[in-house]
């Protein structure tokens, strides 16, 4: 597999890192020679310096032979143009990052008429993710599989949680129909078995149908009180996409943005959100606008540091639900210890979208493909969804008779509309969607889980 990436910014670097680590041949194009040198020195890739939309530069990078061409420069238009050029030169699949809300209604047009294989909009995806957290405040994150038929929720076991000091096997009696598929304790990650004992301050990842997950959350005493009003700091693209979703959910919003022009634009495009012109890092202003009484605080400014500080301040005021946008990996260690609630990262969202696509392309000839992929527990664990397209050696065999590699858990099977939390007697059928959780990255096909 030969992959060309145009634009070596945050997302480009992250993609380069993950794709080269998975063993693909990667070429990076960027107009900044220093960035290229950094990429070549750090990862096992080749670099081409120049304008990624230029046809000579693309030829030099071997776009004509590329299996996948990914354009993630900062400009939507350049990304689209890069992809059009690459397509004409002979690249098999093209992926563009397009973030401008103006283009959100023409995604189908771009795919079908312009021939782009995939359009990713990390800002929108992040907004969707945040909206999901707001509608289910007890969970730290919540990811969906199979178009929402199955979900993966991240929860923290508190001091009063009835689950603490219990073994997973002992939970069966409550008939909860959910599966604890990963546990994070301090810096270690466990794929737990039945005799695993949960402790307070563990973070657990649970799969199940949305309804059963909600029952489970209630069982844990984290009953989902609805959040009615939120305060959003920063008025960028994520805020715009998020505000639209929250308006649909009937959540009241206060958006604080520093740039007056941007305030006017938001007010123009949003129906009910209240727009405040001011500095979101100013504590007096946050108090005056009623941060203490807000049901949730979402910090989405362009600066990671500012977001973290604002979220810490909100925590000190006792705001219940706090969501922070952090793009840089550098902070991930500290963030754990700060306990400021949920972290979102548009960069990670893109990687989560593009990686399964690349793996699926790589395994196009095989019997099952990655449909969805989430990197959880700070990227140490992957949750993958596969669609079983035809019979294989693992279909029709009870799971207890399959020789599954260690550290792999079959977390759920979606058959038609039903979610099966698998036990040893269940088996995989053709047309099932299978969700697995694993610490073993680079699984591209369901067949890989067998020894």
């Amino acid at each position: 597999m030969y992959i060309v990436i145009v634009g070596d910014g945050k997302v480009g670097t992250s993609l380069t890192k993950h794709l080269s680590a998975e063993g693909y041949d990667v070429a990076v194009i960027d107009k900044d020679p220093e960035v290229i040198e950094e990429a070549v020195n750090t990862y096992d890739v080749i670099g081409v310096c120049g304008n990624g939309a230029n046809y000579q530069v693309q030829l030099e990078a071997g776009v004509d032979k590329a299996d996948i061409f990914i354009a993630v420069t900062s400009s939507d238009e350049i990304n689209i143009f890069c992809c059009l050029t690459a397509k004409k030169l002979g690249a098999r699949h093209t992926v563009a990052r397009v973030r401008n809300p103006d283009y959100r209604n023409q995604l189908i047009f771009m795919r079908e008429e312009l021939g782009l294989s995939m359009v990713v909009n990390p800002e929108r995806d992040t907004a969707v993710e945040i909206a999901r957290m707001i509608s289910s405040p007890a969970t730290i994150t919540r990811d969906v599989f199979s178009r929402g038929r199955m979900e993966l929720a991240e929860l923290k076991i508190g001091e009063t949680n009835p689950l603490r000091e219990r073994t997973l096997a002992s939970l069966k009696q409550h008939n909860l129909k959910v599966l604890v598929c990963a546990v994070q304790r301090d810096d270690d990650v466990y794929i737990p078995s039945g005799n695993f004992t949960l402790k307070a301050s563990d973070k657990i990842y649970v799969t199940g149908s949305p309804k059963n997950l909600n029952n489970f959350i209630e069982f844990c005493g984290l009953g989902s009180t609805r959040i009615k009003d939120v305060m959003i700091i920063g008025g960028g693209k994520i805020t715009y996409y998020l505000a639209q979703r929250l308006e649909e959910l009937g959540v009241q919003m206060k958006i604080i943005e520093q740039d007056r022009q941007r305030c006017l634009e938001l007010s123009r495009n949003l129906k009910r959100a209240e727009i405040i012109h001011g500095d979101g890092a100013n504590q007096d202003l946050l108090l005056e606008e009623g941060l203490e009484r807000a049901g949730a605080l979402i910090s989405l400014t362009d600066m990671d540091e500012e977001n973290i500080v604002i979220s810490m301040y909100a925590r000190s005021l006792g705001v219940e639900k706090i969501i922070t946008k952090v793009n840089s990996d550098a902070f991930s260690r500290i963030l754990e210890s700060l306990e400021i609630g949920s972290i979102v990262s548009p960069k990670e969202t893109v990687v989560n979208r593009i990686l399964p696509y690349v793996r699926a392309m790589h395994n196009a000839a095989e019997s099952s493909n990655v449909e969805t992929l989430y990197k959880i527990v700070g990227g140490q664990v992957e949750a993958l969804e596969f669609k079983v397209k035809e019979n294989a050696r693992y279909t029709g065999v009870p799971l207890k008779n399959l020789a599954i590699k260690p550290n792999i858990l079959i977390a759920g099977i979606v058959r038609d509309d039903a979610v099966i939390i698998p036990s040893g007697d269940d088996f995989i059928q053709k047309m099932d969607s299978v969700i697995i959780v694993t610490t073993n990255t680079a699984i591209g096909d369901l067949g890989d889980i067998l020894d």
């Binding site: 006017l264 007010s267 123009r268 495009n269 209240e274 727009i275 405040i276 202003l285 606008e289």
Partner: protein
């Protein structure tokens, strides 16, 4: 200022007015009336004048916004001065000032009259009166733009200065095609109305002139009792509904015809307009129930009067001067509201009212939360703050002019209600007011000063203030 071009367009405009006068001439020939000459003489003179100066062609045909305003203001003065001639020359006992009042009232679609007894007037003059309502409703210069063989790419300035509302847009890329579409819709709707009135057994002549006065939302009636004369609930309902239809933005009809009715129904202004009509009708019907002791009658009179006043037509079916004060007050308030922008109606226009209300609410909100940023929206589209402040200034200027008019009228020793409603109906192009200027009343008793004030008010109201005010600005008359 490109005076030669201004003059060039005005010369064409005078020629057009002269040709339009041939229509009432035809009517007077059909009815064999003696005031034949009152139309023929001015018409021929102006045609000759226009013909004699045909060689004067401007070298530079470019006009800008200020030429547009000047052309519109002067054209309206000219058309009024010329339009007064048939009344004056017909020998029906009107002074030239009274004739001018009648002409201005016609073109501005006000519908106030200084004729003591309308029913004694020659048919040709009645036709001319209602015809001025019709042509003035959509705009005399807009009509010229529609019939001129070539129009300048800049003629949008003329159209913008004459059409009503805070924003005038083109429907299609060419001004000429836009105004042809507008007049096409206008003519079609007028023809439908004539047909429906004929079905109601209204005589042909009455149907035509009543339809003209309805379409222009002018309200010149040819009977002393206005529409009440016909004693027909059918005719009242038809006219009531059509007045409302002519008070709707014509762009919406275009949208409904070319795209889909759904696009037209998205208009926020439309819903405000219909909502105000509904609420006012119900409120008045309840209030006048005590007068009529009959729910159907109350609704019938209430609806007709609301429709007539909000669209600034000014037809009447009942002497609302005798109604309870609550109803009278509602009617006076409706005079300020007016129809929708881009319609033939006068008044403030619903869109301006909506913007004023929204900017007031925003002001309150900004006082409570000073950092809050809010863009005022109409139809879901954010409005530029410039537009909002223009509307505020427009409203303020209107109030100032109104105050001065009332002051001047009070010199005539009119009572306050008469003076106030006279100024209000003139500046909003409605027609009847209350008390001394109430329905079924003629204004022939007013002094010359009062008539001049009202003439000024009518022109100011029709052209939405600024073209007329501009005439008083010295900078517009400077050579360079």
């Amino acid at each position: 200022m490109n005076y030669t071009m201004v003059f060039f367009i005005l010369r064409k405009f005078i020629g057009m007015t002269a040709i339009l006068m041939l229509l009432p001439l035809l009517v007077s020939v059909i009815y064999g009336e003696a005031n034949f000459w009152a139309f023929l003489v001015p018409s021929l003179t102006l045609l000759l004048l226009s013909f004699a100066t045909r060689k004067m062609k401007p070298k530079n045909t470019t006009i800008y916004a200020k030429e547009g305003y000047l052309i519109v203001a002067l054209a309206w003065l000219i058309v009024s001065l010329i339009g007064a001639l048939p009344y004056y020359l017909s020998n029906v006992g009107l002074s030239y000032l009274h004739s001018l009042f009648e002409a201005v009232s016609g073109f501005t679609t006000t519908g106030s009259s200084v004729l003591a007894n309308v029913e004694t007037m020659p048919y040709s003059l009645l036709f001319w009166r209602s015809f001025t309502n019709w042509i003035g409703g959509m705009g005399v210069l807009v009509f010229l733009l529609a019939i001129l063989p070539q129009t300048n790419s800049r003629s949008v300035h003329v159209m913008r200065a004459e059409m009503t509302g805070h924003q005038v847009g083109k429907l299609v890329s060419k001004v000429k095609n836009t105004v042809i579409i507008l007049y096409g819709i206008y003519i079609l709707m007028t023809l439908v109305l004539i047909g429906l009135l004929l079905l109601g057994r209204m005589p042909l002549f009455d149907s035509i002139v009543t339809a003209f006065a309805t379409a222009g939302t002018g309200g010149f009636a040819i009977k002393n009792l206005s529409i009440a004369f016909y004693r027909s609930p059918y005719i009242e309902t038809i006219i009531g509904i059509f007045m409302i239809l002519f008070g709707i933005n014509f762009n919406l009809y275009f949208l409904a015809f070319t795209a889909h009715i759904k696009n037209a129904l998205k208009s926020e202004e439309l819903w405000w307009y219909l909502g105000i009509i509904l609420v006012s009708t119900v409120a008045i019907a309840c209030n006048i129930y005590s007068t009529y002791q009959n729910a159907v009658q109350s609704l019938r009179y209430g609806f007709f009067q609301v429709s007539s006043i909000i669209t600034t037509t000014g037809f009447t079916t009942a002497d609302y001067n005798l109604w309870p004060n609550f109803s009278k007050t509602i009617l006076v308030l409706l005079m300020f509201v007016g129809g929708m922008a881009g319609s033939t109606a006068g008044g403030l226009k619903v869109s301006r009212l909506v913007i004023l209300v929204k900017s007031m609410l925003r002001e309150v909100r900004t006082l409570i939360s000073p950092r809050s940023v809010k863009v005022i929206k109409l139809d879901g589209q954010g409005l530029n703050d410039r537009v909002v402040s223009d509307v505020n200034i427009y409203f303020f200027t209107l109030m100032v002019l109104l105050a001065f008019s009332v002051l001047l009228l009070s010199l005539d020793n009119l009572d306050l209600v008469t003076a106030f409603t006279a100024a209000v109906t003139s500046i909003n192009n409605v027609g009847p007011g209350l008390n001394g200027v109430g329905p079924f009343k003629s204004l022939d008793g007013l002094s010359n000063l009062s008539l001049l004030v009202l003439i000024f008010d009518m022109l100011v109201g029709r052209l939405e203030i600024f073209p007329i005010i501009m005439l008083f600005s010295p900078s517009i008359w400077k050579k360079k």
